[in-house]
Amino acid sequence: MSDTISINGTQHSLPDDPRRSLLDFVRQDLGLTGTKKGCDHGQCGACTVIVNGIRINSCLTLAVMHDGDEVTTIEGLGTPEAPSELQKAFVAHDGFQCGYCTPGQICSATAMLQEIANNWPSDASESLEGEMNVTGEEIRERMSGNLCRCGAYANIVAAIRDVAEESA
């Protein structure tokens, strides 16, 4: 087992202090400040990253618990020159105001579209089985772990819906 962690495709050694959260590790040790700290208690979703394809809150996990894992942060999804589909859609739909929650929203939505493609149900799904639909209600439920203090929700849902419908 390795004692390194891959962040956006680059291997890094794990921190010495076991108290380092994955969030503080990417922001402070690696200088990847796209991932944001809102609450540090799993309540806001600003710190959402994708670990081995699954979205999690990076504030409630220790970096040392992730040896051998592959982490994708907002910096790994796209760049200003080559944005991802969701990044483009957030710009096109004005899916933000201050932008603080946006990296978390986009990481979360990226993994969420895969969850829907896997036909994983949500609390809003009428049936637990079969194909999942991308309704506004589904998107709101599935994205409820990402709070937006500016209340850009309507445009966030529109941006996600656009990409979901295109890829469907």
């Binding site: 087992m1 076991p18 108290r19 959260s21 540090d40 208690h41 799993g42 979703g45 959402t48 699954i54 979205r55 999690i56 809150n57 409630l60 996990t61 220790l62 040392v64 618990m65 040896d67 979360s108 969420m112 969850e115 896997n118 994983w120 149900p121 949500s122 609390d123 637990l128 089985e129 709101r140 439920e141 599935r142 409820s144 772990g145």
Partner: protein, 328 residues
């Protein structure tokens, strides 16, 4: 966060050995423990990371039931094809809790052991008999909206906050525990959590060095299965009152009514007398009231949470009415 030493357990023996020490704790998803360590509510000197010890499988048992690994995530459990088709009340209960990000990390063992959301418990400047035995209870005569109306004591009126265990209680699931000595014991989930009594610091029956390995579900029980969670907003909030129900009807009468209740007590509440009162009865308001009378016989509010008593009654009405319609 206080300093601690960290060990990655490779096998369950490592985990048992490390956590046998009173000042050590196991960490699984970390979504509850790290939250509380940041607040210095939990201050373990040693952490045993149990994520790589296995026990994350979901597989059929010899009697046709399902064994759900303690280290399987809440998400893996809720999306498992057999859980969705045979135990929908469990899938629904899990999906109603927390958020997708949290459920992706949260494990089934950690979910059972999650601690109360009492505001005094999570604030180290406040008195709390659960966190600091003998310091008093801030919630009695304080902010007690989330607190218990059933089975509380004059030492502690906290509630167990989880959803999954409420469904497990209705399903009469069993919790499998590896003991510190290396043997195994099994505890029905209905007996896993404790009432506060005069030992409010004790949430459940686990002893130092014990690790939950799996939860087993009985062979598919069928029936109409419902998880109804009443909360202050429609997503991402803990239950004020929740009900897990498995109901069957025969000739217009209840023939099965396994019910468990969340948000009301220090444990998922289960009272066999409720099923006894419902079976053989028609789904009328009178029947529902009789069931609610039994549920709430010893109910007592603490001011701010008085509303839970009528809310539990109305939620029970709604669930039974809905279940009877579906099951007919």
């Amino acid at each position: 966060m206080r300093p601690f030493s960290y060990t990655k357990a490779r096998v369950i023996e490592d985990a048992r050995q490390i956590t046998a020490d009173e000042s050590a704790m196991a960490i699984a998803g970390g979504t509850n423990l790290l939250d509380l360590m940041k607040l210095q509510v939990e201050t373990p000197h040693k952490l045993a990371d149990i994520n790589r010890i296995g026990f994350d499988e979901i597989k059929k048992t010899a009697d046709g039931g399902l064994s759900i690994g303690a280290l399987a995530t809440n998400t893996a459990t809720a999306v498992h094809p057999r859980v969705r088709s045979d135990y929908p009340v469990l899938a629904r209960a899990i999906l109603s809790g927390a958020t997708q990000q949290l459920r992706n990390k949260a494990t089934n063992g950690g979910n059972l052991c999650q601690r109360t959301r009492c505001f005094y418990f999570t604030n180290i400047d406040q008195p709390c008999n659960k966190r600091e035995p003998g310091s008093g209870c801030g919630a009695i005569d304080g902010i007690a909206k989330l607190h218990a109306v059933l089975g509380a004591s004059d030492q502690c009126i906290a509630t167990y906050p989880g959803d999954m265990a409420v469904a497990l209680s209705a399903l009469d699931a069993q919790v499998h525990i590896a003991t510190a000595g290396g043997s195994e014991r099994t505890v029905p989930v209905r007996d896993f959590h404790c009432l506060p009594g005069d030992t409010p610091w004790r949430d459940n029956v686990l002893e130092d060095g014990e690790i939950i390995t799996a939860i087993t579900l009985p062979a598919p029980v069928g029936g109409t299965q419902i998880y109804r969670k009443v909360r202050e907003r429609s997503s991402y909030a803990f239950a004020l009152v929740s009900i897990a129900a498995i109901v069957e009807m025969k000739d217009g009468l209840f023939s099965r009514a396994d019910l468990a209740f969340g948000g009301l007590a220090h444990k998922p509440w289960h009272d066999l007398r409720i099923a006894e009162a419902l079976i053989g009865q028609p789904p009328t308001a009178q029947t529902f009231d009789k069931a609610a009378d039994i549920l709430l016989e010893i109910a007592r509010g603490y001011g701010e949470n008085d509303f839970k008593i009528p809310l539990a009654r109305r939620t029970l009405h709604a669930v039974l009415e809905h279940a009877a319609e579906e099951a007919a």
